[in-house]
């Protein structure tokens, strides 16, 4: 095979074409993946809808039902507190001497 490029003008033309083709090839990739991304988003949403619908039909839920569910959830969540271990222990501690609780001082004060 022989090169057809023989002059500077050929080089310039081919360079412009070259960079354009690189842009076109990668732009096609951009378009393809923007569309594929959108299709995937749509499919994920649709699958989610189908899954949740199959479990329970929310269209039949009245406002009263919704209010009751919300209240129940609220009460359940607000009354939650840390889980206790359920083990009771009596820890013996040695009482330290303190003049504030001394019986002698208290008796003197009454006199």
């Amino acid at each position: 095979m022989i090169s057809l490029i023989t002059s500077l003008s050929d080089i310039l033309i081919e360079s412009v074409i070259g960079i354009l083709v690189v842009f076109i090839a990668l732009s096609l990739l951009v378009l393809a993946f923007i569309s594929i991304g959108k299709i995937f988003k749509f499919l994920v949403r649709r699958n989610f809808r189908i899954k949740t619908k199959s479990k329970s039909d929310y269209s039949e839920l009245t406002v009263y039902d919704a209010a009751a569910v919300s209240l129940a959830l609220h009460m359940y969540l607000s009354e939650l507190h840390d889980e206790e271990s359920g083990v009771l222990t009596i820890k013996r501690i040695e009482r330290r001497y303190s003049p504030w609780s001394s019986k002698i001082y208290a008796v003197n004060a009454l006199k």
Binding site: T6, G18, V21, V22, V30, F33, G37
Partner: protein, 413 residues
Amino acid sequence: MKSFISKKIFILLAISLLTFHMLAQTNPIEVKTVTLENSLIRFWNNTGFANLEWSYFLMIIIGIVFIYLGIKKKWEPLLLVPIGFGILIGNIPFMEGYQIGIYENGSVMNTLYSGVIKGWYPPLIFLGIGAMTDFSALISNPKLILLGAAAQLGIFLTFIGAYLLGFTPDQSGAIGIIGGADGPTAIFLSSKLAPELMGAIAIAAYSYMALVPLIQPPIMKLLTNKKERLIRMRPPRSVSKKEKVIFSIVGLLLTTFISPSALPLLGFLFFGNLLKESGVTERLADTARYALINTITILLGLTVGASTQADVFLTIDSLKIFALGAFSFGIATAGGVLFAKFMNLFLSDRNKVNPLIGSAGVSAVPDSARVSQEMGLREDKNNHLLMHAMGPNVAGVIGSAVAAGILLSMLKS
């Protein structure tokens, strides 16, 4: 005392070497009778000392510098150490005719070099790169692919520049690809278009790739203002396995239908990626990303280094190639950064692109992405750009392979 003895030994050695050299000069090798003197002269003529010229010595120093930069400075050690050692191997002076040199048919080095000359090492490297690369960053924000295209501007401007400096169109195309900042692509294209310049082109490409942390930051800073460098990008969305599998198939079809000449590179790149993403060929992906790419990197680095034999490598053309390579890297970096700024003109505030990631479009995975990250952190300690920069970075690999295919089809049709 010890140093005195070692000095004496050194002087004796130098005197005996000089005597041998003078004897060999006065008595040509065409001596048929076997005498002690003739045997010694014949032995001397076969040694590297007798055949040493300043150019070989210079190349050996360059090889040592490469090894030093790889080990001490840790600049692309996986490339610079094998290439540097290859330079040493290729520049040990020897008598021709013993099938030792890389350019002597049938020699061990020549056989290993066939992977470079015939261009089958680069696709195997691409297979490994494909098996290592996660294209999620690119798939989650596809518009970043365009930055990988913009950075290929360096290739085509260098193509013009090389022609103006007196290279033939084929040679100009091979030199231009240095701007792709992709060693295997540069070797692949130069093996097809200008095998005589391959050593210089490969060394220039790999050297500048190692110097990416030095070349890019000043250009990036010059072309952006503080406000642009502080732009925070939206975090990328998560990408499903299915999307990644589709990417490797659609990516191959779209790019190679436009540029079939890039098939050896892109075919292997996307195949390697499919092995990784399919999840059912983990063993093959593992071999591609570790054993295979490591083996080929050793052979490629060593043989490319050895191909820089002083008498072939030290020419004015090599100097021109090095100058054009630097120009090419600069233009490629600027192209990516400026295109990111151009894209921002059309993007909403939420979707703005930090122009610092534009420079990552020059390929050089992952060094140029790392440079974007470091530059970003220098301006704002909490602005991590690495994940965003990986998008244009891997797009640059695809872009430079497409550009190589285009140059090949333009120049060889």
